[in-house]
Amino acid sequence: MIRLRVERRALPSPWASAAAPVLALAAALLAGAVMLAIAGLNPLTAYVDLVSDPFGSVFGWTETIVKTIPLILTGLAVLLPARMRLWNIGAEGQLQCGAIAATWVAVWTPLGHSPVAIPALLLAGMAAGALWCLIPAILRAYLSVNETITTLLMNYIALLLVDYLIYGPWQDPAGRGFPLSAPFPPAAKLPLLIPGTRVHLGLVLALAAVAATAFVLNRTRWGLEIRIIGDNPRAARYAGISLVRNIVLVMGVAGALAGLAGASEVSAIAGRLERGISPGYGYTAILVAWLARLSPLAIVLVALLLGALFVGGDGLQISLGLPIAVVYMLQGLIFFFVLASETLATYRLTARGRSPGRSW
């Protein structure tokens, strides 16, 4: 009888490490195709649309970039705490809080009409996102409360907060009862980088955030502290590094990045606070950070690919009537296969069976 055994390799095999994500992607697409077929759809046409929509036209490309911006920012919001072994599942809620704060500045304060509207609402968004992440951070730092669960529960609270505002006190009086806030004044709308498209200033901010994150992690003392804590928290404590202070700082910065994503989305894309500012960027961000292997520079490419997936999914919604949830199904499959493939890079699958000449 053949028995499969998983044995650790001496050193992670380099070609396996490189090939693994590619194989994983291929396997995920295959599994996805099977599922689509079961649901009665032609996987081939679906996949062709999935690729041609984001990459087959200039408009597709720009739309992909539009989706990439919040994915980069929320991806960084997951990545930075993850480098310290903290799980920030609350990027979605922090994003929403960023959107809320930006809306407040734009619609409800005189700053919204002033020349400083944009920086003000962006900063407000970052502050709100940071605050939203600081609550779980403080609970974790001082009371050891599991941040995975608390950040996630805060997501639900944030979404309800948005609902409360747009159905209630912030509802647009001219909106005919729809759950929307009043629209942003023109001064408060993020400028476009490429006229004729929706690509906005957020792209510059996102890329700057990537560069800053990479720089901080690799070239600063704080970055070294983060890396030490992430590698071995006990050694960090032994070396006199303050875990409490770093948990709070890192989660605060992470929340600020996610809040920035929310502020830029609501300002540049939606133009007003409403439902569906984010189709779940904060959750996809987990996959983004994981696929990027927690490297800030790699996040750009991964975010682009997953942004393309969203655009393709939108297209499928129109052409084949598929719900956007199919994108999540595919993301889940990709995640599974990537996890499985990572094991194969560090471990080796061996089959043990009887063979003559050996007593074992």
Partner: protein, 307 residues
């Protein structure tokens, strides 16, 4: 006791039941050392499977079976990744949630607005006449009665059988259990699958008993609340009941307040179960630290013999 209070208590039991199923299931998985954050996804998949089967066959018990099977099947992916392939358990659980949410929403779109012949509250003869306890405990859906049996069964298995001993050993010190001849992988697979089955049943309670309909994301985070309640329950089935019904109570209370036409905004009321769970988690964490009760020592650490 006023009629209103009794109604709220009964509603608390009803609202707490789906979470109770999921919490019990997750207790088994975590006791064996496997953290499964995919409960939300498994509940949704179970909810859909149960709903669809009930619609197609007209028999809600078949729906329950389908829901358990669906949740169990999904959980096996997690088991494969975490037990055999030793992947990161948090990541795998999150992947499971993302996948389960997406899968259920994708396959379920045709069933929104479709009616189903689900369970109805079935008073137990004789017991339903008891004062206070009668209407609260014995005027419920059949699945609730199932949960009543499940709790002592779980306790018995965990503390009075050999399997329970093996489960606890595997979750605390898999090296020791392995050296004593326990099949660590098999115990973990079994516990994860149990967790999946129970999560699936908990999910379908929402779609064929609590209500009789399918809505996307109808669990609204209950899977996550279950994970938090496992900590509150200190991994013990009996305390899980307290946590689940407390949660149910908060839920029922805010629903009743809404129905009674309170002036508090609906959406703020809807936040209360989540805020409640966070607060519970804070206290539970402090209590486990203070009493030095802990999570199973080997929780979320992959085990390998040569490792």
């Amino acid at each position: 006791m006023s009629v209103f209070t009794i109604a709220v208590l009964a509603a608390a039991v009803r609202a707490g039941t789906p979470v109770l199923f999921a919490t019990l299931g997750e207790i088994f998985a975590e006791r064996a050392g496997i953290l499964n954050l995919g409960v939300e996804g498994m509940m949704l998949v179970g909810a859909l499977a149960g709903f669809v089967t009930t619609v197609r066959t007209g028999n809600p018990w078949l729906g329950v079976l389908a829901a358990g099977a669906a949740g169990g099947a999904l959980s096996l992916i997690h088991a494969l990744l975490c037990v055999t392939l030793r992947a990161n358990q948090v990541a795998s659980g999150l992947a499971l949630t993302i996948f389960g949410t997406g899968l259920s929403a994708s396959l379920g779109r045709g069933y929104i607005g479709v009616p189903a012949a689900g369970f109805h509250p079935t008073p137990l003869p004789g017991l339903a006449r008891l004062p206070v306890l009668g209407p609260v405990l014995f005027h419920q859906d059949p699945l609730v009665y199932l949960s009543y049996l499940l709790v002592p069964a779980a306790w018995f298995v965990l503390y009075r059988t050999r399997w329970g001993l093996e489960i606890r050993a595997v979750g605390e010190q898999p090296e020791a259990a392995d050296a004593m001849g326990v099949d660590v992988a098999r115990v973990r697979y079994a516990c994860v699958a149990t967790g999946g089955v129970l999560a699936g049943i908990g999910g379908t309670f929402l779609s064929i008993a609590y209500t009789s309909m399918w809505i996307e994301n109808m669990t609204a985070g209950r899977g996550w609340i279950a994970v938090a309640l496992v900590i509150f329950a200190t991994w013990d089935p009996l305390r899980a009941v307290v946590g689940a019904y407390l949660f149910g109570g908060v839920n029922a209370l805010q629903l009743n307040l809404q129905a009674a036409g309170t002036r508090l905004p609906i959406y703020l009321l809807l936040m209360t179960p989540y805020v409640f769970t966070i607060i519970v988690l804070v206290f539970a964490t402090r209590e486990t630290a203070r009493k030095r009760l802990g999570a199973p020592a080997a929780l979320s650490v992959p085990y390998s013999r040569t490792g």
